[in-house]
């Protein structure tokens, strides 16, 4: 709280010229570079090893991936924006781990400085908090990847077998369980919409859009019905 008292009001013109304008410019350029950077691995794989997936595989794979991701492209930036601010949004969507790391760091930094989110002071403080968390996480992930990559070879055979066969089912169950808690009304719908076509032996690229969009549409009906009765 002591910091807040010493934090004099920021001149809007100074803020605009020395913070807002440059961060929008650099934010756009760096996000643009990252977009190009995302194409680097598949292009490099092709150039060095001559391997590129068939167009049909890309179309189906991208279709399924986007079925899941597109709602988040729109909703996440909008939802997180009030806490993250402009600079925080650029940084967080480039570095990832938003809900578990960037948002808490922004909130803690603002709390330590005694400033409110949505204010100019709040945005500056959140910027520092998020930037520190990005440095820390990138260094730690690098060390973690190198160390884990080294140690996994010493895992006993039964553990390696467990990873190979049972890790993914456990991940799917765990994430479904987490979100079921956040939407108990909607979880059974998602399961039924997926299980019935699966029993009918329909292909995954048909069943996934049915499960995703079906759950959203029925969820919307339930939400509106609940809202009206409330």
């Amino acid at each position: 709280m002591e910091a807040a008292k010493k934090f004099a009001a920021i001149d809007p013109q100074v803020y605009e010229n020395e913070f807002s304008k440059p961060i929008h410019k650099v934010g756009m350029i760096t996000c643009g570079l990252a977009i190009i950077g995302m194409f680097l691995p598949p292009v490099w794989l092709y150039l060095q090893y001559g391997v590129f997936p068939p167009i049909s595989a890309i179309m189906v794979g991208m279709g399924l991936a986007l079925t899941y991701a597109v709602p988040f492209f729109i909703i996440e930036p909008i939802s997180y924006y009030p806490t993250l601010g402009d600079a925080g949004t650029y940084m967080s969507f480039l570095a990832g781990n938003i809900s578990n790391m960037r948002l808490p760091c922004a909130a803690v930094a603002q709390s330590v400085a005694g400033v409110e989110e949505g204010t100019k002071e709040g945005e500056l403080i959140a910027t520092v908090g998020i930037a520190i968390s990005i440095w820390l996480s990138i260094i730690a992930v690098f060390i973690g990847a190198v160390a884990t990559g080294f140690f996994v070879q010493f895992f006993p055979a039964w553990l390696q077998d467990a990873f190979k066969k049972f890790l993914l089912p456990a991940v799917f169950g765990a994430v479904f369980g987490q979100f079921a808690l956040r939407g108990m009304k909607y979880a059974p719908i998602a399961l039924v919409l997926a299980l019935v076509p699966l029993f009918l032996k329909w292909k995954a690229y048909v069943v996934i859009p049915i499960a995703v969009f079906g759950t959203i549409i029925i969820g919307r009906f339930i939400y509106q019905a609940t809202k009206k009765s409330a």
Binding site: K6, G61, A170
Partner: protein, 234 residues
């Protein structure tokens, strides 16, 4: 050459380093800009140190749980690929695994299955990287409009936005959980155990008022479900 070997060669480590360098440049530039203005407005060095200390302490738990969960990505793909996707990218480990599974389906294969080969791997590399560009486009080109967009898109109903994301996630993970459920044996046990353990740890965190446990809940449920599935299968 085996795809597992290619997946850990220098090309993927360097690709990850380039993305991380972009993220580090961006955040350092923003931080310097913010610090310059804050100093001019009277924020003292000790206050800045307090902010930095708070951020480091807050990041520590999530970073540790991230590394713990990253073992899954290292085992499923490779250490280099885990670094490329988690160093500075957009998706969590869980999102990455489900997108890898989607990409393998596109190649007519099962991710991590016996038929998963170089064609499947190449599709995983393409789809996992390119499918997350939407977040970068949204942030890079629309950040300045987000405040206004928030009010317009939600139509004043912000709560529906969060329910929509829950429904979309339940839909996609509902499919992948169901596809494991119908396979029987240890795989069915693993998916059920993972789900129950996840719910248990999240509820436990609320009951005992230890929110920090939530950072570990998914990782613990994931490894717990995996081990229980293996023990059941023998």
């Amino acid at each position: 050459m085996d795809w597992k070997q290619i997946a850990n060669e220098p090309w993927i480590w360097i690709s990850g380093a380039i993305l991380s360098a972009i993220a580090l440049y961006q955040c350092t530039y923003f931080m310097i800009r913010a610090l310059n203005i804050m100093k001019r407005c009277g924020l003292q060095r000790r206050d800045i140190i307090s902010i930095i200390r708070g951020s480091v302490i807050t990041s520590f738990g999530p970073v540790m749980s991230e590394i713990f969960i990253m073992i899954a990505l290292v085992m499923a793909l490779s250490a280099g690929f885990a670094w490329q996707r988690e160093g500075a990218a957009v998706g969590s480990v869980f999102t990455e695994l489900v997108q890898a599974s989607n990409a393998a389906v596109g190649a007519g294969q099962e991710f991590g299955g016996k038929n998963f080969d170089m064609k499947g791997f190449a599709n995983v590399v393409f789809v996992m990287n390119v499918s997350c560009i939407g977040w970068l486009i949204a942030a890079g080109f629309f950040t300045r409009y987000l405040g206004a967009a928030r009010n317009k898109i939600a139509g004043g109903d912000i709560r529906w936005l969060s329910i929509l994301t829950v429904c979309a996630t339940l839909g996609v993970f509902g499919y992948w959980a169901s596809s494991s459920l119908v396979r029987g044996g240890g795989i069915t046990v693993a998916v059920i155990a993972g789900g129950i353990l996840s719910m248990f740890f999240f509820l436990l965190a609320d009951w005992i008022k230890k929110p920090g446990l939530k950072e570990w809940a998914l990782g613990l449920a994931m490894f717990g479900g995996m081990i229980i599935g293996k023990l059941y299968a023998g």
